[in-house]
Each structure stands twice: as C-alpha cells, then as structure tokens.
C-alpha cells in the first residue's frame, strides 16, 4: 500500500504519519509514502472553485500509485475515493475503516501492549461517513470509531452534537474562521460537559480545527476548554508500544499534562 499524506499530515501533524508507520510495521502490513504527491486536492475548497482542477490534480495523485492508497485524512479520502471511482483508479482506503474492516477489532485487541484507560469524545468528521452512499455507510450514527477506541481500553463517552461537523470543512476554516469557531464553540461546550480527557479524531483537518480553534476561542472569546485532540492512529501507536514523545502529541497546540501522564502510564498488559 501507498500512504497518501495530504497537506495537513505532511505539513502540520506529522506525528500521525510516524504513528501510522509504527502501527503498520507492528501489524506486518507493508506501507510506503506516495512520493511526489500534491494536495489531494481538498474536496470542499477546490470543488467550490473548479471541478476540472479538482479532478485533474486528484487523477495525478492517483496515477502515482499502482498499489492501493491509504489515507488518514477524511478530506483526502473523499477526494481520492470519489475521483478514483470516476476514472476507475486504484482502491482508496481510510485508515480507520481499514483497521476496522480488514484488521478487525479482535486482532487490534491482541496487539495492544498497553491499555489506555481514558475517557474520550470521538469525532468522526463528516467526510468519513457522508455522503453515506459513496462511503458505504448504512447508519447516520456510525459506531466504528467507538469500537476502535474501546479496543485499546479507552471509554467512548456519549455527548451531544457528536455527529456535528467540527466547523472547519468546506473552506470555512480558511474563508470564514469566525463561523468555523462558532460551530467549534458549540461542539466544545458539549464535549466539555462530557468531561473527557481527549477528543479522538481520524482527520488532521478536524484535528487542526480542534487544536488551533481552541487557542483562538481562548484568545478571542475567553473560552478555555483545554481538551486535547488526538488522531486515533496516534493513540493506537501508543497502545501498541510507541513512546508518547514520538507520537507527536506533545507538539499539538492543546496538550494537557494529565493526558500525557495517563498515556505514558496506561495499563500494561501481561
């Protein structure tokens, strides 16, 4: 398989990539980076401007690989999956559904060396499961990520607005940061009420929105939530034995000492 990083993972949250290689190495699945790839390009933003540009850049990225492509970003997943079905290209997978469907919950449980008993709010990110038809989802409330999180010993807590957008998609984060933060504000109120250690995402754009958005909310509105966001693959890597340091978590904007402590300690499996 080829790993397609996209802009956000390659340029902002490389910890996701490092964690992913760690996990796949442990699972014995070969994966290597898709060299020379560009922006996927982002479905909401670029499609809003030019569909021709969107499909040509996506086709170029797809043509770089003759193996299946794996992404860890909902935006890249959407663009490459949709474009690939249009041009009959290679298979495109998202790491979360790949782990769930191909590796399986039971296998993941077996690979965990350190359980992570934390309370988390999972956030799927819209483009992971919508439009449901093209994503092969049959529910408006998926449970895939909750099960993945529970497989590594964490507790997925129910909270209001769980399936609501983070606010960052469709070019809104770039074009209308205020609106993006309004939605984030609403979402964070609900997450905060659920009293969790972390927000678990499967998309670096959502991660960015939670991570940078919280700083902005604090600076601009005095809302101090201080709930770290982390990509599932980072958590899984830690549960499979990776050093917390190497997961990149400490480089996020919002990190709490409590979370880091809990992740370092965990519950070592016999």
């Amino acid at each position: 398989m080829k790993f397609f990083p996209g802009c956000m993972i390659h340029n902002r949250y490389p910890g996701i990539e490092a964690s992913l290689y760690y996990v796949f190495d442990k699972l014995g699945i070969k994966i290597s980076p898709l060299e020379g790839s560009s922006c996927c390009p982002a479905p909401g933003v670029v499609k809003s401007i030019s569909e021709e540009l969107w499909i040509e850049l996506a086709s170029r990225n797809l043509s770089l690989s003759d193996e299946d492509i794996l992404t860890a970003c909902n935006g890249c997943f959407t663009t490459l999956l949709e474009a690939s079905s249009k041009i009959n290209g290679v298979d495109v997978r998202h790491v979360a559904e790949f782990l769930y469907r191909e590796v399986g919950i039971e296998e993941i449980k077996k690979r965990v060396v350190k359980k992570l008993p934390i309370r988390v709010a999972v956030h799927y990110g819209c483009h992971f499961f919508r439009p449901s038809k093209s994503k092969g989802m049959d529910s408006e409330k998926p449970i895939m990520l909750d099960e993945l999180v529970e497989a590594i010993g964490a507790e997925s807590v129910s909270y209001r607005h769980k399936f609501v957008c983070c606010g960052g998609g469709g070019g809104v984060r770039a074009a209308a940061t205020e609106v993006a933060n309004d939605i984030l504000n609403l979402k964070m109120d609900a997450i905060s009420a659920a009293e969790v250690d972390a927000i678990v995402v499967i998309c670096p754009l959502c991660l960015h929105q939670f991570d940078v958005g919280q700083i902005e909310l604090r600076e601009q509105r005095g809302e101090d939530y201080d709930v770290p966001a982390i990509h599932y693959i980072q958590l899984l890597a830690i549960a499979m034995g990776m050093d917390v340091d190497k997961s990149g978590l400490v480089h996020h904007n919002v990190v709490t000492a409590e979370l880091v402590e809990k992740l370092i300690q965990g519950e070592i499996m016999e």
């Binding site: 340029n11 560009s38 390009p41 809003s48 401007i49 439009p131 957008c165 469709g170």
Partner: protein, 149 residues
C-alpha cells in the same frame, strides 16, 4: 454547472426545513439553504452573490436527511463555482490558492514544520519538495484557475 437534473431535483423540494434544522452553520450565519434554493426555484435564476454561500462546511448532513433525496451540498458547491465564474475568486480564499499554485499544497510547510518532520524521523517527499512534481502541479493549477488568482 447546475444541470437540468439538478433543477429537476430542486423543483421537488417540499420546503420541510429538515436541511436547515440539520445545518449547524446556519445557526450562526445567514446561511439558509432552503431559502436560497426556494428563491432559485421560484425565480428560476442562479444563486445571487451572497456571502452566506461560503459558510457551508460541506458536512452533507442536509443531503443525508433530505426526504426528497436532493443532493443539496453538491448543488451548493456547483452554485459556488457558478458564482466564481461570474465574480471571480472570493478574496478570503486568495491566499490558499496562491499557495496551491506556488507549492502544490493548500497548506504548505514552513521551515518549522520541515524540522518537526525531521525530528520525528520523517522525510520531505511531497510535490512541494520535488521540483519536477511541483512544476507539474503548478502547471495544472495555472491551466484551470491561473486567471482567477
């Protein structure tokens, strides 16, 4: 562009408001997809220049729940393209597309990001860091929207 099929679908709207009730952006902004589309149906003319149209996060919640199966989000994205064609690139997206043209990335890496990758033992391998690939991508961007940037 908005096709005959799209218009056919829009005409079947029963104005039930499910899209708006499901729209979280619409709670904070003037974005009311139902009204935008209602005007479109009633007046039969394209969406007007309207800041609100840029507030859609493309979360597809409205599309998922629409009882008439109207592909609202996709139509809204098409409406944006129509607007861009008429009025040009909105200023708020200028920076991002300049970056795409120059680096092949909407969110290019700066030195600090490159260093972080190195610290984590990762190489720099995207188009931004490969001259031939970057030029190839730039050409594609230039071809389609060079005039807009």
């Amino acid at each position: 562009m908005i096709s005959r099929e799209d218009i056919k679908a829009l005409n079947t709207c029963i104005q039930c408001g499910t899209c708006i009730g499901s729209c979280y952006s619409g709670r904070f902004t003037a974005l009311n997809t139902r009204k935008i589309l209602m005007k479109f149906i009633a007046k039969g003319k394209p969406i007007e220049e309207n800041d609100a149209i840029w507030f859609c996060t493309s979360c597809y919640a409205c599309t998922e729940r629409c009882p008439r199966n109207i592909p609202l989000t996709d139509i809204l994205l098409k409406a944006r393209r129509q607007l861009v064609k008429e009025k040009g690139l909105p200023g708020r997206l200028d920076k991002a597309f300049k970056a795409l043209l120059k680096t092949g990335s909407l969110v290019p890496a700066k030195d600090e990001h490159a260093k972080l990758r190195e610290d984590l033992g990762l190489t720099l391998y995207t188009a931004q860091f490969r001259d031939d690939a970057r030029e190839e991508v730039s050409k594609i961007v230039e071809k389609h929207i060079g005039g807009l940037i």
